[in-house]
Structures are given as C-alpha cells and as structure tokens.
Symmetry: C2
Subunit: 211 residues, 2 copies
C-alpha cells in the first residue's frame, strides 16, 4: 500500500458510493455541486456516509454541531436518527437559511434546530449531548473540547473534521493553525477520558468515545 | 491532500495511537511483533482500535469471525463487549492455540469460543449474529456474504478486512483474486439490503449495516 496515493483511494471509494442508492440523491448532488462551485468546505459523500453509519450505531437523542455551514453533515446525522434532534449552529444566518431549504426538501425539519451565533457558546446550553460535531475554526478545537466535555454523556462521541488538515499535520515545520490541530489530536489520544481513533477519510475525521 | 502518500498518513495515525493508554499493551505488542517477525497477516493497531470503537457503539451479543488467525482482531472485539461472545474460527489448530494463549493473558477467555475448521461452514451454525468479521480467503468474500446474510440480525454488521487489497483494486487490469474483491465491494455498495462504507485504514476495512 506504501506506493498508493491517498487520492486514488478516495476516488475508488467515491466510485463505490455512486453504486449506492440514496433517498435524497438530488438534494445531496445539489449540496455537493454548490460546495464545488462556491468553494464552500463541506465533508464529502464518503464522510457523510460514515457519519450516517456511526449515528445509526449510536442511536443518539441529541447531536450538536459546532459549525454547520449549509447543513451537509447535518443532513447525514438527521437522516440517521430515529427520534431526537440535531442542533445546527453557524455565525452566518444565510448559511442556516440555506440549510433550512435543503433539509426541508429532504423532509428533515422536524429533526433539526437552527441557532445563529457562536457555536461553542450555544453548545454550552445543551447537557447530556450524545454527539458533538466539530467543524469550526480549527485552532479552537482543543479549547472547545475542554469547555464542552462535561456536557457530553458518558458513551457519547466527539467527531471532529479536518484533523489531517490537508496533510499539513505531516509537515516538519507546520504553521500555527496546524500546530493547534496536532495538539488537539495529541490531547484526544492521550486523554484517559476518551478512546480516540482517526479515520483517514477525506481530510481526516477524528472520533472519540467518552469513557 | 492529493499529494499525500497513504503511508505517511498511516504513520501519523500510528504515532497518535502510541500516545494512548491500553490495558494489555504487553500482550498487544507481543502479538504485533510476532506478526512482523513471522509475516503473519493481521490487522494493525489502528484497525484494531477502530473495531473496538465500532463494537462499543454496537454493543453486540454475538460476533463470529471467519478467519481469526491467532486472535488479534478477536482481542479488540472481546475487549469491547460487555457480555456476549466472540467466536474465533481457523483452519489451523495451532493458530487458535496461540489465540487462546494471548486472550488468556488478557483475561478474555470467558468471552470467546474457539472452533477449528472451515469458518464459513461453522458460521452457518450461528443465527442472530450481530457482527460477522471476514478475514479469510479474499476471493470467497462475495460467496460468503451470500451464504451468511440471513444469519445476520437486522441492524447487524459485516466487517471485511483487506478490501483495498494492497491497492490492487485501483489497477486497470487486476488479477482474478483482486477482481473478486472488487465484485464483493460492488455487491455490498449496490445492495439495498446493506448500507456500506469503506474505511481506508491499513488495507481497507469495509463496514456494512444490514437494513
């Protein structure tokens, strides 16, 4: 495997994803196309499907996203839950308006809540959270987990996107933002409060189980 | 990420794994060293940790492995279950003897059962299985899922190792064994009976949820 480019593996998995029937294919394609055209950073189909699988296994009642953008990850979370809700947060009202539109088209509005503002501050209002999803400013991940870990249920999950940070975590002299992400990863793996894994899908998805 | 070698990402994740406290570190190191020295193919630490996390989320009562070798994957499954059992199968009694020794040292013998023989035939004896783990002859994966899927509970998982097959699935003119693995992957992703993902850890871990 040593000589295989990461990118080729991603393309292979993408080609498999395309074989799979998904109920809201049109909405998803639209969201993915919009990301590509506008350069808006979203997790891709492989990560979305992985979030769906994890959520199905976890069967959570409360998911809080820190940084929802226009709702692509929230789609997969909301689609996978039986009951309960997903709280979307974003600084920009226009992002959440767009999310509302997409999630409405998928019939998921009953399972979601939209909150404009600072995601970390909003998240603090929620106790007994089953899943926190981090997709906000990367240099704040470590500080965020320190502030929110008591709001997470035992057996709950922290899922953090971009933890390979375009591969910059591999650089010998990384920039400050990258250093912060590395510190977050190292904290999560060394902490005895969590059991942590890092999944090399797209830009790296860290998943940590609260013990 | 396009220019990042798969291998470097693996090394980074390995380095994070080393920060994490694990109860049976000595036993695991011994099993991993043995694999390296003898060339015995086992899943690595990252995959093991991933299996542990998935098992914790699933909380299964019955896991059946098709092809257990000397018990490395079984260690992670057994460690993660609260009650219930892991059935280990292997053609070679000496592999399962070795597994017994390692799992004994980790205090896991109450959670495991050892069966020498053809894993697929043995697996057929078990109904309402929560997780099937495939790590036997790769060209038989598709045939195996066709034979065993009715023995898997709804909401149960098929986890199959080596589904990227040293990257050979990316080749334009793959050999017959690789073709068979590709057919298995394509079957799993196109099937409406399963929701399937492929995780690019080590040699590729396919995870499918039975709908």
């Amino acid at each position: 495997m040593n000589d295989i480019l990461f990118y080729s593996v991603q393309l292979y998995i993408d080609s498999l994803n395309q074989l799979s029937y998904v109920e809201d294919e049109d909405v998803l394609n639209h969201m993915e196309d919009y990301a590509e055209k506008s350069g808006f950073p979203i997790v891709n189909r492989s990560v979305g499907r992985f979030l769906y699988l994890i959520t199905k296994l976890k069967n959570p009642k409360l998911i809080v996203e820190i940084g929802s953008g226009y709702g692509y990850s929230a789609y997969w979370f909301a689609k996978a839950i039986d009951s309960g809700k997903v709280v979307l947060t974003d600084y920009k009202p226009e992002n959440l308006e767009k999310a509302k539109e997409y999630l409405g088209k998928s019939g998921l509005l009953e399972k979601v809540e939209f909150r404009v503002g600072n995601g970390v501050e909003i998240a603090k209002e929620y106790k007994d959270v089953d899943i926190f999803f981090f997709d906000h400013e990367k240099s704040k991940y470590l500080d965020t987990v320190l502030q929110l870990k008591t709001n997470l249920k035992s057996g709950g999950l922290i899922i953090a996107d971009n933890t390979l940070w375009h591969g910059k975590v591999l650089q010998e002299n990384p920039d400050n933002q990258t250093k912060k992400i590395k510190e977050f990863n190292e904290y999560m793996f060394s902490s005895k409060e969590f059991f942590t894994t890092l999944i090399p899908l797209r830009d790296g998805v860290l998943i940590a189980l609260k013990l």
